[in-house]
């Protein structure tokens, strides 16, 4: 790795100030994404600020409404093993368990997980040189290159990469809130507004600015969470990014769907919420396969597959259907 300095943050306020004033500082928590990016020379911060010692940022606490608040420094493995998380939001525990490996889950923080770079193989490949994320204006090698693993929604010609976080898909489905400390105090960012679409500035994955520090993630209670499920389809049986994944949750009036939540991973620069499908699913019975299929299809009218990933359009609908029915079986 390139040379850099390392210091330890002891208070959030001073960490925020240091990060705001110095464009060469990067926060480091678990480090599992940042160190990989530094080894690939995809990012070269001159100074790292170790935030692992910040107080009171690793707990999982119950919220008065029945939701949970997860400190940004909680580790993926602790959150996945937490019995309250498993009972109240099984979709979140499952999304965490389907990500990375046992070793990485012990290291990676929750805040760092949602800060993972949206990326593709061309982003990590220093030898190609064309990547608007690595070097804005250099072009996108994937747009006319090998794009089997890339986006089918929301892409621009400047970037067709997908966000790798499984957790983010579940949090988008649950309408979680990212609590961010900044120079102006704390603010609350709805999860579906946290990540960006690439547009003409794909080097920005999310809406955070210099001096912003993720403090916690709140998951408010919702009627569907109890019957929820995360389904991930990938080229290997384990330890692999998603081709397509779905976070699904459902509440019913007897047989028929009263409300449903669906979000996809592996299809866009950010977790992709299927709002049209959620509306169309209301009133349909969970064992009416054709009805569910056509309701889910409502969200795929605007799918725009690339040269090598048209299969994702069909695959994503099947994965959404199975995830929804598996979630429904938990009622």
């Amino acid at each position: 790795m390139h040379p850099f300095s390392l210091s330890r943050a002891t208070l959030p306020a001073s960490a925020i100030t240091a990060h705001a004033l110095d464009p060469q500082i990067a926060f480091i928590a678990g480090g599992t994404d940042l160190i990989g990016l530094m080894k690939d020379r995809a990012t070269l911060p001159e100074r790292l600020l170790d935030i692992n010692g910040l107080p009171n940022m690793g707990a999982i606490d119950a919220l008065p409404d029945g939701g949970l608040r997860v400190g940004a420094l909680a580790r993926m493995s602790d959150v996945a093993a937490d019995m309250e998380m498993r009972r109240r939001f099984p979709v979140i525990a499952e999304a965490l368990l389907f990500a990375a490996s046992g070793q990485l889950r012990n290291m990676a923080s929750i805040g760092g997980n949602i800060m993972q770079r949206t990326r593709c193989a061309y982003f990590r490949d220093e030898t190609d040189g064309r990547c608007n994320k690595r070097s804005p204006g250099s072009g996108c090698a994937a747009f006319r290159g090998l794009n089997r693993n890339h986006a089918i929604f929301g892409w621009s010609e400047s970037c067709v990469a997908t966000n790798p976080s499984d957790l983010a898909v579940a949090l988008a489905a649950m309408d979680a809130i990212v609590i961010v400390g900044g120079q102006g105090g704390e603010r609350r960012i709805p999860f579906t507004d946290f990540h960006r679409l690439p547009g003409s500035a794909p080097e920005r994955d999310n809406v955070l600015d210099r001096g912003d520090l993720i403090v916690a993630i709140e998951v408010p209670a919702n009627p569907e969470a109890r019957a929820s499920h995360y389904l991930k389809v990938r080229d290997r049986a384990s330890y692999e990014f998603a081709l397509v994944s779905t976070a699904a949750a459902v509440a019913t009036d007897g047989e028929r769907i009263r409300s449903a939540r669906l979000a996809l991973g592996g299809v866009a620069h950010k977790p992709w919420r299927l709002t049209a499908a959620e509306s169309s699913l209301r009133g349909i019975s969970l064992d009416d396969n054709d009805g569910l299929k056509s309701a889910i299809a409502a969200s795929f009218a605007d799918a725009r597959p690339l040269a090598h990933n048209a299969f994702k359009v069909e695959l994503a609908q099947r994965v959404a259907l199975r995830a929804l029915q598996t979630a429904g079986a938990r009622l």
């Binding site: 790795m1 390139h2 040379p3 850099f4 300095s5 390392l6 004033l21 110095d22 464009p23 060469q24 990067a26 480091i28 678990g30 480090g31 599992t32 160190i35 990989g36 080894k39 020379r41 995809a42 990012t43 070269l44 911060p45 001159e46 100074r47 790292l48 170790d50 692992n52 493995s77 996945a80 093993a81 019995m83 498993r86 009972r87 099984p90 525990a93 499952e94 368990l97 389907f98 990375a100 490996s101 046992g102 070793q103 990485l104 012990n106 290291m107 690595r134 070097s135 804005p136 080097e203 049986a237 384990s238 330890y239 938990r330």
Partner: protein, 197 residues
């Protein structure tokens, strides 16, 4: 190889913020660790990984360096009793922590039961992944004892015990450790013996 700073951390590579701090940049740090129950102090550059520090500073070469990207698991050690990838963390971030490597598993000259099980079940050929496999397997059992579920768990809402560690569960829980010799069936057998299933 270009040394041009990459976007996201400011295109200008000036040192003004160093001067603004009014002190010289610190290039090396002293780190205190407890490695295999022994207090150890070493001087490292901040960029030195825990893996390189164990191998190069402490001559504990049982921990192997293979992919160096967090993909293969050969560098697995325990920090505070948890399995982690020593290639993906900085030595200087482990100040005061207890680290266990493969050299620290035996007790009073006796191998750890999982080490014996690897010999018994022929769980390796070339041996390069073996120390990582064993460190990972030992921690996997502790995780199951603590009730941790996995992606192979049918319903995460239910409690988990060691008795739930089927071969399918072991394969999933060990998926962060690759074996180029493909000794997986025998690695699973060795781990299953430790589990007692």
């Amino acid at each position: 190889m270009s040394k041009t700073p990459k976007p996201g951390f400011g295109a200008a590579s000036d040192n003004s913020s160093h001067r603004a701090e009014g002190k010289l940049r610190t290039d090396v740090l002293a780190v205190n660790l407890i490695v295999n129950d022994q207090p150890r102090t070493m001087t490292v550059e901040p960029r030195m990984t825990l893996l390189d520090a164990l191998r190069e500073k402490l001559a504990l070469t049982g921990t192997k360096k293979a992919c160096d990207r967090g993909e293969c698991g050969a560098c697995t050690v325990h920090v505070e009793g948890r399995r982690v990838l020593s290639c993906m963390t900085l030595a200087a971030m482990q100040e005061g922590k207890r680290v266990t490597t493969i050299e620290g598993l035996e007790r009073d000259g006796k191998l750890h039961p999982l080490q014996s099980a690897f010999i018994e079940h022929d769980g390796f050929q070339c041996g390069f992944c073996t120390s990582g496999q064993i460190m990972s397997g030992v921690a996997m059992v502790e995780e199951a004892k603590a009730g941790w579920p996995s992606a192979a768990t049918a319903d995460v809402r239910n409690a988990i015990t060691l008795a739930d560690l089927s071969d399918t569960e072991i394969r999933e829980r060990m998926s962060g450790n690759l074996c180029r010799c493909a000794c997986y069936p025998n690695i699973v057998k060795a781990a299953a013996e430790l589990v007692g299933n």
